[in-house]
């Protein structure tokens, strides 16, 4: 009897979640599916689609760009399709430079006041950014960590690198180990509005170069700026925190977004600001269902 009641409650709860989610993430889900369709079409057969998607590719490019068969592969960014990039990536990953950072993150997890209470399950990297109904705003994992520190009477950390990236590396590694997938939810109307603002920010052309994020990472993805193949929006947030060779260290999503804004020719928004958190919310939603794959390395 009790079991039955529990079952019924669980069923209602699941139904409720589905109903809720269904009512506020309709547009986001449509956007995500269209984006997946776009990238799967673009990279399913690059040679056949050359005229439409890689109109200025050289013969060498066409030899280098591999077809992408599975959506999950987009967690690898441009290494999903760049043969040369992939082999360099695999070589470096034989001795991952972020191992010590994961260990440092574990120590921070166990040794920092409050962190364990705030994050009893460390395998939660795929659930952020999250819309916090109490605060009525999007909270990234970095922001959530700092909120936790502050609530426990501690000084917040730098949002872009250092301790916060180490702790996130531990969270990501635990999530990956547990086979977690990106699971971003849009639980309310306010959350849906935040998502829409993030989406608009992503597609709006900005800076003195008048570039949108999409110019490079949707339409431009698979093409090159100088030697570098532009990575796809699909999967863009899955592998953070990331160890970039350019940085010689780990960085959070906040750090990466700052770099993108600089490249567009805009004075970057502050890490932790509503603007940054909402654009990341949109981006992460686009990767829903992909495996959490952090920490990882990138050029």
């Amino acid at each position: 009897m009790i079991a039955k009641a529990v079952k019924a409650t669980v069923a209602v709860m699941i139904g409720g979640v589905l109903l809720n989610a269904g009512s506020f993430d309709v547009q986001a889900e449509k956007d995500r599916q269209a984006l997946v369709k776009y990238f799967m079409k673009k990279f399913s057969d690059p040679v056949k689609n050359r005229g439409q998607f890689f109109p200025y590719a050289t013969e060498e490019d066409m030899k280098n760009i591999m077809p992408v068969k599975k959506v999950e592969d987009f967690r690898l960014g441009s290494y999903a399709f760049s043969k040369v990039g992939r082999s360099q990536y695999e070589e470096i990953n034989e001795m991952p430079p972020y191992e010590d950072d994961i260990d440092a993150g574990e120590e921070l997890y166990n040794g920092t006041k409050g962190i364990k209470e705030c994050f009893p399950d460390p395998a939660i990297a795929g659930e952020y950014p999250k819309f916090d109904e109490k605060q009525g705003k999007v909270v990234t994992l970095s922001v959530a960590i700092n909120d936790c520190l502050k609530a426990h009477g501690q000084k917040p950390w730098k949002l872009t690198k250092g301790k916060i990236a180490d702790l996130e590396a531990f969270f990501a590694a635990k999530s990956k180990e547990a086979g977690k997938k990106v699971h971003i939810t849009i639980p309310s109307k306010a959350a849906a509005e935040a998502y829409e603002r993030g989406k608009k920010a992503y597609y709006a052309q900005r800076g003195y170069l008048k570039l949108s994020c999409a110019n490079c990472h949707v339409q431009g993805s698979g093409n090159r700026v100088r030697r570098e193949y532009l990575s796809p929006l699909l999967g863009a947030t899955t592998h953070f925190p990331v160890y970039r060779l350019k940085w010689q260290g780990l960085g959070t999503l906040e750090r990466r977004i700052k770099g993108c804004e600089k490249n567009q020719g805009e004075n970057p928004h502050k890490p932790g600001s509503q603007w940054v958190s909402e654009i990341l919310y949109f981006m992460a939603y686009m990767s829903n269902g992909l495996p959490v794959d952090g920490p990882d390395i990138r050029k």
């Binding site: 890689f54 109109p55 200025y56 590719a57 050289t58 490019d61 052309q205 003195y208 170069l209 008048k210 570039l211 949108s212 110019n215 490079c216 339409q219 431009g220 093409n223 090159r224 700026v225 100088r226 030697r227 532009l230 020719g265």
Partner: protein, 117 residues
């Protein structure tokens, strides 16, 4: 035979004119080339390869530039000043409109582009 000679003479004369104008332009072409290839100035090579010229690892977000020598100067100038007249979501920046390159710098780039076969 005679026509051939005449034609040759005309070609030589025309060639001289071209050389003369190129000579007067040489500094401007050189300046334009530098703007084209320097990351902190025009950075055109980020997206464009160039037909017949050695460019250090050009990108392919934009088309390989060729046959620009036959374009009218004004058309080239306008394209660099603001390319948004045709494609509203073009990835090419409006270098003049947005104050990245000055009038003189754009003219220098145009002079360089006019040397592209």
């Amino acid at each position: 035979m005679q026509t051939k000679k005449l034609f040759l003479a005309a070609a030589v004369a025309a060639g001289m004119v071209i050389t003369a104008s190129a000579g007067g332009n040489a500094d401007l072409v050189k300046e334009g080339e530098k703007i084209f290839n320097t990351k902190k100035i025009g950075n055109c090579l980020a997206c464009h390869a160039v037909n017949g010229k050695k460019i250090d690892n050009p990108g392919n977000l934009g088309p390989k530039l060729q046959g620009l020598s036959v374009w009218p100067e004004q058309a080239l100038y306008d394209k660099i000043y603001n390319p948004y007249t045709t494609n509203p979501i073009s990835a090419m920046p409006p270098f003049g409109l947005n104050g990245v390159l000055s009038d003189h710098q754009i003219k220098a780039v145009v002079a360089y582009l006019k040397t592209i076969k």
